[in-house]
């Protein structure tokens, strides 16, 4: 399916699960309701017209200042039909709050590590995650969530002189 028809198809089929969809640099991008996040992903995987059985990328972005929360962005694609799309969802959070969302591990097992990384670096809690340990940081790390914007860090983070 080409990008245009994919955009139209998802907008029509799954209209009650998404907030909006648009074309960004030739790729359909959809804003998803956080409570429908996992169910929509599962449907897109099982739908024989989309067959999104692989994950290309899974990102968390700190948008606390701009949109008042964290955004999860996942790019999924199909090897067989050769198309891809991006899903976004906003998890509201202020200051030091830890937002929560259901894990995607039940849909694509490859997201387990991505979520472990987001959990420790951004401070997002994934409910029912099968393996909620640290991935990149040491087990005894207690300096906060380093990838959050404005994280000043510990004494071993050196800032260049201006």
């Amino acid at each position: 399916m080409d990008s245009e028809s994919l955009l139209k198809y998802v907008q029509e089929e799954y209209s009650e699960r998404i907030i909006g969809g648009e074309m960004v640099k030739g790729v359909p991008v959809f804003e998803v309701k956080p409570e429908k996040w996992v169910s929509l992903c599962g449907m897109l995987r099982d739908d024989s017209d989309t067959m999104m059985h692989s994950v290309s990328n899974y990102t968390a972005v700190d948008y606390r200042e701009k949109h008042g929360g964290f955004k999860l962005v996942i790019t999924i694609f199909s090897h067989i039909l050769n198309h891809r799309l991006t899903l976004e969802t906003l998890l509201p959070a202020k200051d030091d709050e830890i937002p929560e969302i259901e894990t995607l591990a039940t849909v694509w097992p490859t997201t387990i590590w991505f979520e472990r990384e987001h959990a420790e670096l951004f401070g997002i809690e994934f409910i029912n995650h099968p393996d909620p340990r640290h991935l990149m940081l040491d087990d005894d790390w207690d300096e906060g969530y380093p990838m959050r914007r404005g994280w000043t860090g510990t004494d071993f983070v050196v800032k260049p002189d201006k």
């Binding site: 940081l137 040491d138 300096e143 380093p146 510990t154 983070v157 050196v158």
Partner: protein, 173 residues
């Protein structure tokens, strides 16, 4: 092979030439310097240059009497090749402690020297190996060329040759 096959022929013609006098210290140091076995401690980019490319046929590490060992208990030298993170730092200390005396450390590349390109704005990289283990030779470069690794080994051999005998025996007591 040349010196071993030809030396006796020359020396035996000299009266008393079969006997070589030297100090025990020199003999020990010479034998130690010419068989520095290094531990494979490849962490990042430098491992490809410093350990693999240098060990392969073009640069041929073996001619310095340097053979890699996979175990710290059999090695005299640790070439720390690459970026050391805080998470790996603890493991490095354990491995260093497992090496038998006398032991030497070469910090290879900018990251092992002081953090290199990961010095600023970085929350996980240790700013130099010398924060946790004593370093004998620093090699600059990112990554250093194999030639500079060879030069570092020659320098280390010079250092070993000048060592006093009591140094290491005292430290074990």
């Amino acid at each position: 092979m040349g010196i071993i096959s030809k030396l006796p022929a020359y020396m035996e013609t000299i009266p008393g030439g079969g006997i070589l006098t030297t100090t025990t210290e020199k003999l020990l140091n010479l034998s130690r310097a010419s068989s520095l076995w290094y531990m494979l401690f490849g962490l990042a980019c430098c491992a490809i240059e410093g350990l693999m490319a240098t060990g392969a046929s073009r640069y041929d590490f073996d001619r310095f009497g340097m053979i890699f060992r996979a175990s710290p208990r059999q090695s005299d030298l640790m070439i720390v090749a690459g970026t050391l993170t805080h998470k790996m730092g603890k493991r490095l200390k354990v491995l260093y402690d497992q090496m038998p005396d006398p032991k030497y450390v070469i910090a290879m590349g900018g990251c092992a020297n002081n953090g290199g390109p990961f010095y600023y704005d970085c929350y996980s990289v240790m700013k130099g190996v010398d924060k946790i283990v004593p370093v004998d030779i620093y090699i600059p470069g990112c990554p250093p060329r194999p030639e500079s690794v060879l030069e570092a080994c020659i320098q280390l051999q010079e250092k070993v040759k000048k060592e006093k005998m009591g140094k290491w025996s005292a430290s074990t007591e």
